[in-house]
Symmetry: C2
Subunit: 359 residues, 2 copies
């Protein structure tokens, strides 16, 4: 069903307050989830709420804790998420990094002892507001099999990059794996076979059945006892250079788990389940007039959108779909699937709060 984004926000803020988050922290996490749903990235929207609540119950997330700065120099900051949600610590780290980029042109930040941080693009868009450009990265549960391997080890490891452009910024935001897990769930819901080389089994045979694929990924992500297989890296098959996708994924592991001295993705299914994040911002205006750079980026993106192309197809520049969804969903409300509605209702009953109305 569809609900109004404002109603979704109010519901979430109330839930987070009841779950023990400080008010400003609850407002921020609610904002990231509503933002994801508005942009049609529902895999990172309110459907995560039930999982977050379970992690609060089992002590993985401690909602009362405040993220804190451990160390800072002019160009870099190290933030401790203090075992609270990643959203809060990444937001703090990006705020500090934005200050640095304004002052000296660039800044980087690492977040340790963290949890899921929602959509990476959220933090990148923070940097864009004052005219900067930004990057945000996170490691994840182990889902991805390196080239030639038959067991999952790497995370799906998100990468987001943003740069000023019109009518909306360039935002590239996605998993470094060939697809995100959400795409497989979607195929399962639709009852269709997986169309690409997305998941392999323990013999590295491509899996086409979405249910079998989901089972492989759930075991890889959440069980200490592994049975092999997992998501492929970007590239898919060896012939299409999946070692490059592996390279991208390892870069994210290094900039997150290794720099933070936290868990690497491979170790997040065996007890120590902290995630780590990396944020980066820089000031394009150092290199040239910001409006000129923005106009040049816009002109390039428009040329890409209008290249000769396959009849009946559209060339979508990264970010275009999400801004189109945003405009639509701000008017029509956000679409929430039935399972998530049931989970929201159970939480509403438990916390004795009211559900958002259908629009």
């Amino acid at each position: 069903m569809r609900i109004n984004a404002t109603d979704e926000r109010n519901y979430l803020q109330t839930v987070f307050e009841k779950l023990g988050f400080q008010k400003d922290d609850g407002i921020l996490i609610a904002d990231t989830l509503v933002d994801a749903d508005l942009r049609g990235i529902s895999s990172h929207g309110i459907q995560r709420l039930d999982w977050y609540r379970r992690m609060i119950k089992d002590g993985t997330i401690i909602p009362q804790n405040k993220a804190k700065i451990l160390k800072e120099i002019p160009g870099a900051v190290l933030v401790d998420a203090n075992q609270n949600m990643g959203h809060l610590a990444a937001n703090l780290a990006m705020d500090k990094v934005i200050e640095k980029a304004k002052q000296i042109g660039v800044g980087i930040g690492v977040v340790r002892n963290s949890n899921h941080f929602g959509i990476a693009g959220y933090y990148v868009r923070k940097a864009l507001q004052p005219g900067l450009a930004g990057i945000a990265l996170t490691n994840t549960r182990p889902l991805v099999v390196p080239t030639n391997a038959t067991e999952a080890f790497l995370g799906s490891n998100a990468f987001a990059f943003g740069f000023p452009a019109s009518p909306h910024p360039f935002i590239f935001d996605g998993a470094t794996s060939v697809v995100a897990g959400g795409k497989i769930q979607l195929a399962d819901k639709k009852g269709t076979a997986l169309p690409g080389d997305w998941v392999v089994n323990k013999d590295r045979q491509v899996v086409k059945d979405p249910k079998e694929a989901e089972n492989i990924l759930a075991t890889a992500a959440f069980e200490a006892e592994q049975k092999g297989g997992g998501l492929l890296t970007l590239g898919g098959s060896e012939a299409n250079s999946n070692y490059k996708g592996m390279g991208n994924s390892i870069v994210v592991e290094i900039l997150t788990g290794i720099l933070a001295q936290g868990s690497i993705s491979a170790d997040t299914n065996t007890g120590k389940h902290d995630f780590s994040q990396f944020v980066f911002a820089f000031d394009p205006a150092f290199f040239g007039d910001l409006e000129t750079l923005k106009a040049n980026a816009t002109a390039m993106l428009n040329r890409i959108r209008h290249l000769h192309h396959l009849p009946g197809h559209t060339i979508w520049v990264p970010g275009d779909r999400e801004y189109k969804n945003l405009a639509e969903n701000q008017k029509r409300g956000v679409e929430i699937d039935d399972k998530t509605i049931d989970q929201m209702q159970a939480i509403a009953d438990e916390l004795q709060i009211s559900m958002p109305a259908e629009v």
Copy 2:
């Protein structure tokens, strides 16, 4: 044939001096080419010499010019390559960025008005010497067709990242396209069909004949009059998320051509053929003890190398092959193909210098 790396270096230094480069500049460019050949990245080694010489003759490269710093703040630097080789300007930019990273934790640099800069990994390894980590990017000629497009627009846009590890650093260095052009030339030399979804024609049909593929790419890269088709982005087909490869490639375009206010790759085949580069370094030791971080990275990479895998296959971590080649070629000399030897001989005759001996 094989020649000794020292002989290759001496030959190149003499050639560059005779071609009008200042002595230190010639030494540096020679070092980058020998380094590429030693690592088995012969596509970026001495086989580029003939092309460089042609660009000097036609005025694209002005060997007497010195790269210069246009603008500098604590975290960022803008370098003008002054229409000389990209190697010289990228080296200067990385030197400045290394200083910044040592002082304030991080630095970024952009190079404008540049040319080909050899292997991106060379500049990254410079950052590793004093214990930093680094990134280097370049745009290129237009070779790559965006998702759903039927004409080339993006560059193959190299990305290199390095981080300290033992027994050698982690170095991921490659084109953001599904393969680099060199792999197609190699298939052509061997007379084998292209094994993956690498190149498409003007109807976006996958091309398997390497000669046809080479012809498509040569037209895309060097002719103003286009006939369509080009290299695919990483991912290959739409079903395997080639829009993610497109996203990576656009990120490189923005950080190079757009930030430098130079040409984007798409415009380098129509007169204005300047390339642009981006370099980045940061100090991992800010985030934790360097030896600990290095040991943790090493442990992760070793675990990847030893994952369960397909029988008879090896899991190569990015950089492993190149360091293996380096060790071998330092002993045995570097392998140079016949066509390149002929070109070297022609240059030796023209400049009245002697050829390196076969080992």
